[in-house]
């Protein structure tokens, strides 16, 4: 049994005239008019090997707002519950059965406990939102030397992703983690990654990945472009869904002390049309690049300043009406690992991206862009 908790303090510092209210995919505590302390993640992890052939991993989160609730929060909900079935005792061949992370994107696989910036990026995370997880069966292949390397990258404080196989392939429901399945379609995913230690001792990792499936978007009443009466866009609800498929690339140069990380993905997925009257299958693309530097001090812990830029143009499948827009964001921050069990992160984000809330008010257009700056301070405890 172990876990971690992320407490945050949030403030929108700047909001351009005519801008929509602040809103981020990754953090509902950013909203411009009700911001203070919040809990972003509160995890308890129960794990272990039951036998040579079965590993169990269970992770509830206690920072959840149940559907329909507006005030009463911090309910317990599952993030992971899976069985690692080892075909042989070397753990080279493995079936992961249950609710677990979908192997698409380094950033999605890396634990939030280890990630340096506060949240994942929209372009990569929207592929597997919400919760980066899904119910299904995955096969992972990891030779023994790579098992060790994956372990070292996490234990050595290099912010690795953990072991999701050199090669991984799987089928899953496709609606996102802890979501009710809505159709008869299964998503399929495959990923190939190659982490390698250079002669210099530096580790680099490159990956390609892709998935395909059909996604059912939930609907919510809006006034299209702020005109006329309320409608729920066509193409929402039901049990069929829209094509949802992407391919992506990853490159990671682990920080010893300088690090560089970049991912990009292209594809198509559900997105609201420009008239805001129907959800259709639309093109999308986006990615990010990040530089960071790990500075070990003798007496004051480890400092990791970082700078990340992200760009996304596409639909948000997990949000009601699958709003389609562009998102541009710069994050500047520093992580201070005071001691192994305590971390402090200060981050300033320059955002120009769509507010994802469905607004059903006369003469108000939903999904306009928020343009401004948000400051957040996070205290993380590991236990």
């Amino acid at each position: 049994i172990r876990g971690y908790t992320q407490f945050r303090f949030t403030r929108t510092i700047d909001q351009e005239t005519d801008s929509a209210n602040p809103n981020l995919l990754g953090d509902r505590s950013v909203n411009g008019n009700a911001e203070n302390f919040s809990i972003r993640r509160m995890r308890l992890i129960i794990f272990g090997d039951v036998s040579e052939h079965l590993g169990v991993y269970i992770q509830p989160d206690f920072a959840n707002l149940p559907q329909g609730a507006t005030t009463n929060t911090f309910f317990g909900q599952l993030r992971d519950t899976y069985a690692d079935v080892y075909i042989d005792t070397t753990k080279i061949h493995r079936l992961r059965i249950g609710l677990s992370k979908v192997p698409f994107g380094f950033e999605n696989l890396q634990s939030s406990q280890n990630r340096v910036p506060l949240d994942r990026t929209d372009p990569i995370n929207s592929a597997v939102s919400p919760n980066e997880r899904d119910l299904g069966v995955f096969y992972y292949w990891t030779p023994e030397d790579k098992q060790k390397l994956f372990r070292d990258l996490v234990d050595g404080g290099l912010k690795g992703s953990g072991n999701y196989g050199i090669f991984g392939i799987g089928v899953y429901d496709g609606q996102g983690g802890s979501q009710v399945e809505q159709n008869l379609n299964l998503h399929t995913v495959a990923r190939l990654t190659w982490p390698t230690r250079l002669d210099s001792g530096q580790v680099v990792e490159a990956s390609v990945q892709g998935y395909t499936g059909e996604y059912v978007v939930q609907g919510s009443a809006i006034r299209p472009l702020g005109r006329g009466s309320a409608i729920t866009p066509a193409g929402t609800g039901g049990n069929t869904g829209h094509r949802d498929q992407r391919v992506g690339t990853t490159f990671v140069y682990y920080p010893q002390p300088f690090g560089f990380q970049s991912e990009w993905n292209w594809g198509e997925g559900p997105g609201l049309n420009d008239a805001q009257t129907a959800v259709e299958t639309r093109w999308l693309q986006g990615g990010y690049a990040m530089v960071m530097c790990k500075v070990d001090t003798c007496d004051y812990g480890i400092f990791t300043p970082y700078c990340r830029w992200q760009y996304y143009k596409g639909g948000y499948r997990s949000i009601a009406n699958a709003p389609y827009g562009t998102h541009n964001q710069w994050d500047l921050g520093v992580e201070w690992q005071i001691r192994k069990e305590m971390e402090l992160v200060a981050e300033y984000s320059l955002v120009d991206g769509a507010n994802l809330n469905a607004i059903n008010q006369a003469r108000v257009t939903s999904y306009r862009n928020f343009d401004g700056g948000v400051f957040r301070l996070q205290f993380q405890m590991n236990y």
Copy 2:
């Protein structure tokens, strides 16, 4: 701390023309148009004896959809939380205080971890639905030799029920497990069971049981018989309730290797009238018979093929409007206990029974029968 999780993959294979959509009391993942992987049960059990006079048992489940939610699932909810107060240290006399199983029906008392078929039967489970549990105080009497026999039946892989006393009697709220009490009436239950080891080494168990109380049925708008406008049937809601009482018999011949199990119950309870306009107290009866065979192989685990038939004619008290109908079902399956910690079950169910969903649509009759076949595959991990 221990527990188990059941992952399923579901497919409706066959649906007769003019049949309603598939729907089962015991598994909401069966619905015909949104079926794939699901988690049926995800249990963590914290238990132990705090002292010679107090045993504690706490079991949350993390596969719950909160009331009113349609997409966001896998929230944590209590199944059991009880104190076993031992009057003396021999544990012969015991008071069980709190949220625990209602001693009515072998099948209800047997853990889903041990049951061979995927779910309980409608005729027996509808007596104590939802969740087979309730809040109350129960007294159990178990002589020491029978304490040992109950333990052996579970530990020996014979799929016993655990120790709910040779004689048990109790009072409880009556609305079902983890439900808010709705009236001032208490349910009363009593059960007498006699498990005995024959000279041949075989174990047989016979039981009688009965309960009585008043149950408040929740209402939901429907079009009665598909005609006219929406109404909520009379006799729903409020704080009085309908008479809810049954008697039942049980016979179990434990599988060494051939097993036979049968239960039947009769009584009256809340049920929607034939005009679908009001919930009344109506007669009910039903039961099941099952044969199974436990085959131990040297190298490939234990196989237990089984065949179960069930019949129910009566109301479903825990479902909105307490739909009244008939349910006929044949289950054919096999449980493969690969290793002690992993089980795989394949089950095909031939169903002719009422769809229990309240449908509020013009010219649509709710509660018509589904006639067809459902295939399910379950992977269970024990930890």
Copy 3:
């Protein structure tokens, strides 16, 4: 890992003619027409020192009804999740970061596991309702001898509050424990307490405390004074809030064997106006006095009879529309600690106080007083 659970059996014994239905701030199982067994608190506590500089405390409760639910209950929700950051290893200076108790009122800080009466009083608890907790950062100062004294008061069965510092000061969201923040305002609180052991061996404790902030009240439709059509009172919702500030005094004479305890507080906070049309900032005051006697028997455990009187005139900030009224209550009861791990409490309450439910029915006035008597029996298990 430890915890406790409180099972109750409730009955309204007496309701005066023309009185509203029974309703208590501290126990939703009291309602007059659906009372029987209930679970008031079901706690699991995971705690420990991760290092010399970090203590972790996590406490979910599993007796929660999610917002909007009416029947399906016992979901898991966080009560506490905090980090105790010790500035030095003597633990004299401490920062408590996260979701924890707000240091206002002895009764609020004392654990329900240790409190003798079943629930806290309205005048003191309404200051930090719901849940006595909030998200924020608190600083506590506790010299080493007082650390020991605080510990002795709990371990010695004297029903202490635990260590919330001799001096404490903090900032927090202000909407209550496990509630979503609704504005940009932070609450501020400070408390000074002085527990001391007299030459006679008796311990007395005296405290002063105060807080200030702005609270956003939720709205719910009612018929003001039972007249006209439904309205939601003005001054509810939104993101600004009403002034919410109080000062309070505490005096505790610990029971060896006779004990006396009293608290009083004054201030202003959100309250519905007399016309029931708008929530305003209104004056409030109230407090309680309690006498109790701790009787150790050789063979039958510890008996603690008690008598408590409380009075409150003010608004209830955490209830929809912040109903304003008077509450007078006498509690007579006895706690029987059978063994360390089992306690039984019988309590009779004479209540004359506002029913806090918003009723939206023609010609029905909400928030009329309930005048009558309620009997409750509680079994508590500690583990």
